[in-house]
Symmetry: C2
Subunit: 474 residues, 2 copies
């Protein structure tokens, strides 16, 4: 494969002609923001040019040009990724979907929304609610774009009940690397019509094609919900309760876990101690936060009673009902603040987003903390107990960057190996980007990794789309 | 691509050595059953040999041999398909999974079952229930294998609430055409770890690899359910009620529709008229059958009240509650007998399994019936109103085979074109096989169809696995 070409003034002129003067930036006119995502430890790279695209046709024209000229193209949503997925590590142009931020229409008879990919998750969620509908995927990062969520198959808090982003993508418009426009899927939930290119696109991190329009499934807005906090002696006891909760026919919307220290940090940060630290004279070491949904107070009360019985059996210190809107807001604000709290406390950060079978979470966390202590790395963790997805953050504190990176590498190598041993996956929702490529290869094995590479060749024979990511090495 | 080779006595000897004398059949020893599925109108083809495999290792050895010798291999589950998917149209061997019929183990902490692919759907469903769990996918054909269900992404009656087979496949073992063994997925529900080869395998009809083990997600068994029959004046009125039912926050498990004539036939066939034909002096022309699930009688009663209010608004003649176990059994037996009834009444049959957006069902049915009348083809239909999946059967009655095929071809051409115009999909759950290839190509377009073909090349460069199916032409 020959090397990529650099952007010449002539090509820049053609790009400027496609998107227009006001949406084309070149050289020093490109803001530094476009050189990194929210995990800059994996490196920064300035693009040679930036196009703020507005339509499928523009994207198609750009791809035809860049394909012919062998200029790499990296798509970027809101840049909230954590694995370097939108960083143009081989130069070329960044194609930002930030201006493709229109919710196009609702189809109330088929319960779907047609949207551009640059719409923010929080905006889509609010707009759907205003239509009496809910968009169920609910990742912690609300200012991500829905296109980014689809490209990483983001999961979020409600996955236990509702599944992940993949489960809500019914159709999309895709621009292939050579500029051809392809429509995948329809406004239907059931299909057995050839290989699912749609499911191949979901989670492909902008390496196979560029998503320019989405049809997403919605559900009726749940009538009522209540959250419950279950304090436990320690994380092992907390996690051990999860299978019983899942078996109790409560159909919970979320089952989150959190360790005591991060709850304390969050309380200090928000100034609002909503999680009880001492319950009936006993220190809580970890918590399970459950959200139940229902149609009526009677139904929720009945579900809460059953959860209470389960909680007693599994050794919870108490069941604290979070029923009022204000308290609910505070509790979920505390939960949502975890990453912000961690970022505020440390200079440098690295992260793991592994998924392990639910019954291995506690064991995995114990292993991680032991290894972290061995390597001298400070670790904070929280995550989705209901689906085994852990967010584990390594904080540099006072360590020098080089030393921090050296220690984190040793810790990550050990933890990802343990994750594979536990039959887990490298990433639950943050994806691979260029940061986790080696761990992916080790986890899935050479045969599957080789097939992924061959699929990349099929869609992008010139390797110009987001090069160096997922299963591609330049 | 060179032609396929014929089975020589030497290769036959090697196959016999792999699976053993008692599970290898050759020439006349192969039963005629293995030459067709349940829709023989698409042609029969005898395999040169039949292997009743029992393990992943045997499958791997067979594939290594057949790959080297260029012998086509077609996998077969229970042979209940309707599009010729398991018919060895280019000869070679049929590899039947019927002996791989063991449910291997349950993991009650992670709510999954590990199973061989040859287990029948009815056996898995019953066994899961005995463990207090439910396997949600519920296609009408209960004697299909789960491997076949995964290979076609079968949907069934409960898809409105629970989704389709795809949503329950967490992991699988796959033997590639060259004999390599690959494991895809893990016992986790959330993942963002490279391209989803797992989702590519689901619905690929045995053309990319051979599934030899499955890890399937289960859910707690619902505590209670009730079915309700809503009679309407005609099919248009019945279908028009569906969006309102879906928006009423009832989370129904099924929403089925049926036309009056098929209900009459079913009543005559089973000797049990469970659907009322005259309601308050008015002739019912069509029905909606809704199943609701819940945790308590109180909750179900409350949901029934709300459904009753919706039914009145949308013009249902009545709401008949099917509450007792016996009546429920009769109603669902009548529903399940539809295909059997149709088969019993006609000599030759052809079928369509399109999906259209829910709000286009009635319009599509009217079009189909008009076209059928124009072509002189007798048509029966029923299906899944909640997800737009229609099962439309063309019955030959007294027509000669050649004339029937000629007329059906004209009818199908028109209906599939209309389906594409309505933004529908060629197949909801019966798949493509070799019967629907041209309709698939027309529906998805040359770009997507070409990508499917290129993916086939990646997995099966020698084109020896189930040749001539889905997107492959010899």
């Amino acid at each position: 494969m020959p090397e990529y070409n650099k952007l010449t003034p002539e090509i820049a002129g053609k790009l400027r002609a496609i998107v227009g003067e006001r949406r084309f930036f070149c050289g020093d006119a490109v803001k530094e923001d476009y050189s990194h995502d929210e995990m800059p430890i994996y490196g920064r790279a300035m693009p040679e040019a930036l196009c703020l695209v507005e339509s499928t046709e523009e994207v198609s024209e750009i791809m035809k040009l860049c394909s012919a000229e062998r200029i790499p193209v990296t798509v970027r949503g809101a840049g909230t990724g954590l694995v370097g997925g939108c960083v143009p590590i081989h130069g070329g142009i960044v194609l930002s979907t930030e201006k493709m931020n229109k919710i196009l229409s609702y189809d109330m008879k088929n319960l779907v929304v047609h949207t551009q990919p640059g719409v923010l998750l929080c905006d889509l969620a609010a707009d759907a609610l205003a239509h009496g509908l809910m968009y169920p995927p609910d990742p912690g990062e609300k200012t991500a774009t829905v296109g980014g969520n689809v490209s990483t198959n983001a999961g979020g808090m409600r996955a236990v009940k509702y599944g992940v982003t993949r489960d809500y993508v019914l159709a999309m418009t895709v621009v292939l690397p050579d500029g051809r426009i392809m429509k995948l899927g329809k406004t239907v939930c059931k299909t057995s019509s050839g290989y699912s290119l749609l499911h191949l696109m979901v989670g492909s991190e902008g390496t196979l094609g560029i998503i320019t329009e989405l049809t997403l499934k919605l559900v009726p807005k749940p009538l009522m919900d209540v959250s419950l906090i279950l304090p436990f002696a320690d994380i092992a006891a907390a996690i051990a309760s999860v299978p019983s909760i899942k078996l109790a026919n409560l159909d919970p919307q979320s089952i989150e876990f959190m360790e005591r220290d991060i709850v304390d940090s969050s309380a200090a940060f928000t100034g609002n101690a909503v999680f009880p630290t001492v319950v009936n004279g006993k220190e809580a070491g970890a918590y399970i936060l459950v959200t139940l949904v229902g149609d009526s107070e009677a139904q929720l009360t009945e579900k809460m009673d059953r959860l209470g019985a389960v909680a007693e059996q599994v050794g919870a210190y108490d069941v604290l009902v979070v029923w009022t809107d204000n308290l609910k807001k505070d509790v979920w604000a505390a939960r949502s603040a975890f990453l912000t709290v961690i970022e505020a406390e440390t200079r440098l950060l690295d992260e793991m987003d592994v998924v392990v079978p639910v019954d291995r979470i506690a064991e995995f966390l114990v292993y991680t903390h032991d290894e972290a202590e061995k390597q001298g790395v400070y670790v904070r963790s929280f995550g989705h107990a209901g689906d085994g997805n852990l967010h584990i953050y390594c904080c540099s504190n006072d360590l020098e960057e080089a030393e921090f990176k050296r220690r984190v590498k040793l810790l990550m190598d050990a933890c990802y190996a343990k994750c594979t041993e536990f039959e887990g996956q490298v990433s639950g929702e943050h994806s691979i980007g260029h940061a986790k490529k080696e761990y992916l290869r080790e986890s899935v094995g050479d045969t599957a990794y080789g097939l992924m590479g061959a699929i990349k060749d099929v869609f992008d024979p010139g390797h110009i789309l987001n090069p160096g990511k997922v299963c591609h090495t330049v």
